[in-house]
């Protein structure tokens, strides 16, 4: 018994010693990568890969430099055939081990996104160091500029991007663009993917990022973009909105309605001649956010009036978005997938002609809005109205 105990003890101790601290990396031997950018290169088949590495400033001792103005990150850049080759090349230039686990954002320049992002993304799906929650973003212009930029509030641009995307996701889960989500949606037959499009603004040496809408991808290539209003139409058609607003402007005044939640369901109808109609129903619950004008109406009249106008506005937005999708020949609403799901046999015959059928498809939207709340005030501002 004693011998066995000793043996166990010896094995335990030797296990610890022989392992020799394998895989142990002290924190000060790591270069923590916070963002990765990919830009198009002038040479065919190559791309510019940019890594943003967070700068670590020692707080121990009084050696801490005061010059925090030169940014909190530095850039590693390499032109190469593939990202892994680029990272290996960068490793040769770096005194520290490149540590990819904490990558917050993956940025694609507009140009490379147009050439296709699928060949670039394989490494990220395969490598175990990259998290599936990495946000993917398309940048107007070059991704490198964003990674180099000095941001107004956030210490690191990549953290700023991740936080911005987080806010976006609170509007609708369809705006979530984690690597995992994107990869999952790639498997869909016809449905076009979307990725957020951001623009870097700069004024007085300060930069900030602005999401300007969505880019539409077909087969991993950018085929067009949706601006703010079209984006709104897109998420309205997808349903499951958790927050958002819609602005209604009539000749009587102007009102902004907060969308509390909305849902949508769609049903494809295929005629004998291959004519496709998508019937979509959208139900939204809203509250009154802001009123301007409407001075000669009672609050009940306003609410009734706005409800009708909001429905019209929703229909228009969704309709516009559908048309925009058709113009790009990108199946934004997933009509093809719906047909495949509901009538698989029919889909087999439609599939081959899909690219010619889809631009002729029609959308039939029916929107119902419910105005449930007037906000904190039940009246409208008017002079001499005190009772």
């Amino acid at each position: 018994m004693k011998k066995r105990m000793l043996l166990c003890l010896a094995i335990l101790v030797y296990a610890a010693l022989f392992a020799g601290c394998w895989d142990s990396r002290e924190l000060d031997t790591l270069a923590i990568v916070t963002g990765i950018g990919i830009d198009a290169s002038e040479k065919a088949g190559k791309a510019n890969y940019v890594l943003q590495v967070g700068k670590v400033r020692p707080i121990a001792g009084d050696t801490a430099p005061e010059d925090s103005k030169d940014g909190n990150a530095y850039i590693l850049k390499e032109e190469s055939d593939s990202i892994l080759e680029a990272i290996n090349l960068m490793q040769c230039e770096s005194s520290r081990i490149l540590f990819l686990h904490h990558t917050q954002a993956l940025l694609f320049g507009e140009e490379i996104a147009r050439q296709g992002i699928l060949p670039q993304i394989d490494f990220f799906l395969r490598d175990q160091e990259i998290r599936m929650e990495v946000r993917i973003l398309v940048i107007e212009g070059k991704a490198e500029d964003v990674l180099k930029a000095k941001f107004r509030q956030e210490v690191s641009p990549s953290v700023a991007i991740a936080r911005m995307m987080n806010n976006n996701e609170s509007v609708s889960e369809y705006l979530e663009t984690s690597l995992l989500n994107f990869a999952l949606r790639l498997h869909d037959d016809t449905m076009a993917q979307v990725l957020p499009l951001a623009r870097l603004n700069e004024e007085d040496g300060e930069s900030w990022l602005e999401t300007v809408g969505l880019v539409v991808l077909k087969g991993g290539r950018v085929v067009g973009r949706l601006d703010g209003k079209l984006t709104n139409g897109y998420i309205l058609s997808r349903g499951k909105i958790k927050a958002g607003s819609i602005t209604v402007a009539t000749d009587k005044g102007r009102a902004t309605l907060n969308i509390l939640h909305s849902d949508s369901c769609a049903k494809p109808i295929v005629g004998d001649d291959g004519e496709i109609v998508l019937r979509q129903k959208i139900e939204a619950t809203m509250s009154l956010g802001e009123l301007k004008g409407f001075s000669d109406m009672t609050i009940d009249e306003i609410m009734n009036h706005l409800r009708g106008e909001a429905e019209k506005e929703m229909v228009a937005q969704v309709q516009n978005c559908f048309v925009a999708g058709q113009a790009m020949n990108a199946d934004l609403f997933g009509v093809g997938s719906l047909i495949k799901k509901k009538m698989p046999q029919r889909w087999e015959t439609l599939k081959v002609r899909w690219d010619t059928l889809y631009p002729r498809a029609r959308l039939d939207v029916e929107a119902t809005a419910e105005l449930v709340d007037t906000g904190q005030s039940t009246n409208i501002l008017r002079k001499g109205d005190r009772k």
């Binding site: 335990l12 296990a15 610890a16 010693l17 392992a19 020799g20 601290c21 895989d23 142990s24 990396r25 002290e26 924190l27 000060d28 790591l30 923590i32 916070t34 967070g54 670590v56 400033r57 020692p58 707080i59 121990a60 001792g61 009084d62 050696t63 540590f99 686990h101 904490h102 917050q104 160091e129 953290v159």
Partner: protein, 333 residues
């Protein structure tokens, strides 16, 4: 009973006949009779001669200085050993959870007592595993640290010369030295020691860049948490060092290995025939383990400790709605 050939120390066993287990009584008497040494100077001597696992990190004989605690233990069916000239009263059999049960738990009200009981378990885990977790995280599993926290840690590690394990060892040992010095000295001097040692040296070590600030915080919390469960403080101190060593060589995996090894050991441990983890098994004793139930709900004495007269309290309805009940009773009359 007299033990010690030269010192002739009086040793007294206190138990309730009909509540304490006769087998434990005879076993204890037998073990005491086996002691043929020349001196018993303190109850600690007795403890070492009668305990079940002398080489274990965990003690299997409990001790207390408080008469109420000793009385409570006797009432639960344990046997108290009172040694002449020692303020410490031993009690057997000992259960693991005993170290986490404070007298104040039973004197205070239920909900807060349960919270502080829970805190004690947490503090024990912290004092054993916190330095090793910190070592494992910063030298093996940086991907588990949230990004912003990682940069804070990295900033503190930047420029400190020693690896995290060595840093932790320095801190733990300097703390142990400080504590030892504080205990040996008279109280006013002891306070001066802790101020000079902890405040000045700690602060200087950080600002000189020898030790990182997160490490100082970790060790400080570890040290303070160690005082929450004084009965297991010695076991915790040794365990802490072992887990630190394994965390430094194998990361979280090493901590897991040690945790499992200790768990297996604790499950196998017995004190006078009673399993060390007895009350942690699902049974009626669970009312007094992780949380403390109201006194009126603990109607029976602990299992395996008490034999024979196991009822503490007959059927008792707490006065939840006294006015209502009394009125109803009057109506019936």
């Amino acid at each position: 009973m007299v033990v010690g050939v030269k010192t002739l120390t009086d040793v007294c066993l206190a138990y309730i006949d009909g509540v304490a287990d006769p087998k434990v009584i005879s076993e204890l008497k037998y073990r005491l009779e086996q002691i043929r040494v020349d001196a018993i100077l303190d109850s600690g001597y007795i403890e070492q001669y009668i305990e079940d696992a002398p080489l274990s990190l965990f003690s299997t004989v409990s001790y207390t200085e408080k008469p109420d605690v000793a009385a409570a233990r006797v009432l639960e069916g344990r046997i108290a050993i009172i040694v002449d000239g020692s303020p410490f009263v031993l009690a057997v059999p000992m259960l693991f959870i005993e170290s986490f049960q404070a007298a104040e738990d039973y004197y205070g009200r239920v909900i807060y007592a349960s919270i502080s009981r829970f805190m004690r378990y947490l503090a024990f885990l912290l004092t054993v595993f916190m330095p090793s977790l910190y070592i494992a995280l910063v030298s093996f599993h940086q991907e588990l640290i949230p990004t912003t926290l990682l940069f804070t840690f990295a900033a503190a590690r930047e420029g400190t010369p020693f690896p995290a394990f060595l840093e932790a060892l320095i801190m733990v040992f300097s703390f142990e030295i400080l504590r030892e010095a504080g205990v040996r000295l008279p109280r006013p001097v002891g306070q001066a020691i802790s101020i000079v040692g902890a405040l000045i040296v700690g602060d200087a070590a950080v600002s000189a860049g020898i030790v990182g600030a997160p490490m100082v915080i970790t060790i400080a919390i570890t040290a303070v948490a160690g005082f929450v469960v004084p009965e297991q403080a010695d076991a915790a101190a040794v365990l802490r060092l072992i887990t630190m060593f394994f965390a430094a060589s194998l990361g979280i995996f090493g901590i897991t290995v040690i945790f499992l090894a200790v768990l297996i050991h604790l499950c196998a441990l017995e004190s006078f025939g009673v399993p060390y983890f007895r009350a942690l098994l699902p049974s009626r004793d669970a009312k007094d383990t992780l949380v403390r139930f109201p006194l009126w709900s603990m109607t029976k004495r602990p299992l395996d400790l008490a034999h024979g007269d196991i009822t503490r309290l007959g059927f008792f309805v707490p006065p939840l709605h006294p006015h209502k009940k009394r009125e109803e009773g009057e109506d019936q009359q």
